[in-house]
Symmetry: C2
Subunit: 166 residues, 2 copies
């Protein structure tokens, strides 16, 4: 594979793929995708994005930090919902443009998704077409572990304040 | 979360998050990231990208297809190496901008990575700094299942031909 145009990294393919220096390759927006799985069950919980700052803080604190693309800001998982993630292991892939975090869920609710579910991946793509056209989705492992209305009430209030000050 | 600017999808947040219509939201480059795990062991094997065509072909054939960003072309996993992926389950996440594929590995080698490893995530980020600075990487589950020199000999030849024709 050739190197992504966005990376200013001068490392060789061999250094990137077979080396022992962690040199993550961020995309044109300065982000790298992070796959997050449960260290306990192995299930995929979410896919998030990290910039250099989020990555550094995650490594330094052992608590998962991400870059929120919708809110354009650094985000410590759980800072609003209380449902954080302690990093058990961090890996990178062959070309160092993706991260895999194995995490333990902290907080009262065993949940990662803002909808209250344990995993963000609570729907499977089914074979048949949905009434609206296209393949349909089937809810799986979709039980809510917390009520998002309650968990994000404080956060919503804070967001409204933020927006009104813009 | 607000909708990504790149998505032309007119669906509401409620339809996207709680609906049963599969309406994947591609990024500005027309891609959606796909987390690929082993249906047998649950381990994360790779992170790849799909465009609409790759997604459609994957759903229609049950064989994982991706968009190669480095080669700018559709790619059926295993078409060169022989190590393909049969899709056991496909899921999408809350805001439908990520895919999770649980796959069975087909072909002789139990491997997904072009370096010959089972998973692309064969290095863990260690606490200490590497000689070159920055955190170091520790090889884990890094045994090669096939020899990439042999597996991609034909592919390399094809790539050289392609490049020479550009």
């Amino acid at each position: 594979m050739t190197k992504a145009a966005a990376s200013p990294d001068p490392k060789s393919k061999a250094e990137i793929e077979e080396g022992s220096v962690f040199a993550p390759r961020f995309d044109a927006e300065g982000l790298v995708p992070a796959v997050v799985t449960s260290a306990a069950t192995g299930e995929v919980l979410m896919l998030a994005y990290m910039n250099q700052d989020a990555l550094t803080r995650t490594i330094e604190t052992g608590e998962a930090h991400y870059w929120s693309r919708s809110r354009s800001r650094l985000w410590r998982k759980g800072e609003e919902s209380g449902n954080g993630q302690r990093v058990v292991e961090m890996r990178t892939d062959c070309d160092q443009d993706a991260i895999w975090l194995k995490v333990e869920l902290t907080g009262n609710a065993e949940a990662c998704c803002h909808t209250g579910r344990r995993s963000c991946f609570y729907r499977a793509v089914a074979g048949g077409a949905a009434p609206g056209g296209g393949p349909s989705l089937r809810f799986v492992d979709a039980e809510r572990q917390f009520d998002p209305e309650t968990a994000y009430r404080h956060a919503d209030a804070a967001k409204r304040t933020l927006k009104s000050s813009e």
